[in-house]
């Protein structure tokens, strides 16, 4: 069953068209890596999927009861302030805001959901820890836990391995694969195209000259060789 279908999506700002045509569909449980050169429009495409940018034309449809506000998003690591004074729990709870509607406070269910997200990623003992005192890898896991609090269906990650050392990156990818295979989460991850080790999903959305095309990872690697 398709969880996301993009049909002839065109995205840009004013007269500057960044994506001329993005047409692809993702099934439940797919793990797609978005690749392309710098400035090719990878982040622009995922922001359109998240509803942060309105496409100029075309449609993005969500399946299986998914809505824009129940997508888990992990922005580039540079966005949140690494020295922000907050506990891990405070940050991960903010992932539940999409479920709160106009309610001003979190309910018991949301607190439990946060504990579950932290347990899933093996960082439940960090709940009361200060975000600014964590290592780069731990911070990334906390932000991933926040995304997990927002969704049970689709995760979108924008270059999550940036600024992670080799070991932390491998560890992080292992976690993502586990979430994909064991919990059936559909994942879209922007990554660098340079290293085949980064293409950990079953599909690749390659953006070139403003056109986004989808292919199976093996097929994509074959074509690139």
């Amino acid at each position: 069953m398709s969880i996301l279908v993009a049909k002839k999506v065109k995205i840009g700002f004013g007269e500057n068209v960044i994506i001329k045509d993005a047409s692809f569909s993702l099934d439940e449980g797919d793990f797609a890596c978005v690749v392309g050169t710098n400035g090719s429009g990878k982040s622009t495409l995922i922001k359109a999927i998240l509803g942060l940018i309105k496409p100029m034309s075309g449609t993005i449809e969500y399946g299986d009861g998914l809505t824009q506000t129940t997508i888990g998003y992990l922005p580039q690591e540079t966005r949140p302030d690494a020295n922000f004074p907050a506990t891990v729990e405070e940050i991960v709870l903010s992932g539940c805001l999409g479920h709160m509607k106009m309610r001003p406070f979190y309910c018991h269910k949301e607190h439990e959901h946060v504990r579950e997200s932290l347990r899933t990623l093996g960082i439940d003992e960090l709940a009361k820890a200060s975000f600014m005192k964590l290592s780069g890898g731990q911070k990334q896991k906390v932000l991933l836990a926040r995304s997990l609090s927002a969704t049970k269906k689709l995760l979108i990650l924008d270059e999550p391995s940036n600024n992670l050392d080799y070991k932390s990156r491998k560890d992080f990818y292992k976690t993502l694969k586990k979430l994909n295979s064991e919990q059936g989460l559909t994942i879209i991850m922007i990554t660098h195209d340079l290293d085949a080790d980064d293409l950990i999903g079953n599909k690749v959305i390659a953006i070139s000259d403003g056109v986004a095309k989808i292919a199976a990872t093996a097929e994509y690697l074959e074509g690139r060789a």
């Binding site: 824009q68 922005p75 966005r79 949140p80 405070e90 805001l97 001003p104």
Partner: protein, 268 residues
């Protein structure tokens, strides 16, 4: 010490000051963490020009200053997030222009008696019971709005793009926050004046950040520090016959130094 609070003007000053200190500490946390500390400065100067123009026109200053500062704060908050425009430059332009407009308005007015010092440095000992009631009402609205929007304000302060992605109406909450900031600044003008009010917003947060690592604790600590600094400042200004606003700022500076040292001890 008890004697000073037998005077009605001191009772009024204490009540208004406490309310403003609480509100200023609340908005200060988000402003400082969003690196928008200087917005308070820019807006207080805008409030100064609005107060001056209103007085020259013979209109109640609050009715002009409040809407003007709300509009200005909304634009300044949006401008500060625009990557193509340098937010600090926009605030500097707003500050200087507002101060100039206010000063010009006062200088061209004839037959109007304006105490420039009270606008620039505050005159909390001159507040009336009507001011106390109005301040109490506005402070209640500020605290209620802040509590209602607390989790959204946290999310926007930490990571605005993520907050948007989970459906937080960042524009709406920015507008609410801008309105809260404006009310605090306009009220705070009576306490510290346009030149010193931004210190009441910034100092308690900076002090609390030396000691706490959680957003909620920083808010609570900054409210406590703000109240203590105000009470100490008011009492000291009475005892030493010093200007109240300046003494409150000095007490905030002392609190910051103490927190800084305690933070160093805590780390070691």
């Amino acid at each position: 010490m008890v004697e000073m609070f037998s005077y009605p003007f001191m009772q009024r000053a204490m009540l208004v000051g406490l309310m403003i200190s609480i509100c200023a500490a609340l908005v200060g946390v988000s402003l400082v963490l969003r690196r928008n500390s200087m917005i308070g400065d820019g807006l207080s100067h805008t409030a100064f020009s609005a107060f001056a123009i209103a007085t020259v026109l013979g209109v109640a200053p609050l009715y002009i200053a409040l809407p003007v500062v709300i509009i200005a704060s909304f634009f300044v908050l949006r401008l500060s997030q625009n990557k193509r425009i340098h937010g600090d430059a926009a605030i500097a332009v707003l500050s200087a222009s507002s101060l100039a407009i206010g000063t010009m308005a006062i200088s061209v007015s004839k037959g109007v008696n304006i105490d420039l010092n009270s606008y620039l440095f505050g005159s909390i000992l001159a507040v009336s019971w009507t001011d106390v009631i109005l301040s109490g009402f506005l402070a209640l609205i500020v605290v209620a709005l802040y509590l209602f929007a607390y989790h959204r304000i946290f999310a926007i302060t930490f990571d605005e793009e993520f907050a948007k992605s989970v459906g937080v109406k960042t524009g709406l909450y920015d507008a609410i926050f801008a309105a809260i900031c404006s009310v605090v600044i306009v009220l705070g003008m009576r306490l510290l004046g346009s030149l010193l009010i931004s210190s009441l917003i910034i100092f308690p947060t900076l002090s609390a950040m030396r000691l706490c690592n959680s957003f909620k604790k920083i808010i609570m600590a900054s409210v406590i520090i703000s109240i203590l600094a105000f009470v100490a400042g008011l009492m000291m200004s009475y005892s030493l016959a010093t200007p109240t606003g300046a003494t409150v700022v000095i007490m905030n500076l002392v609190a910051f130094i103490i927190c800084y040292l305690l933070g160093k001890i805590q780390k070691s």
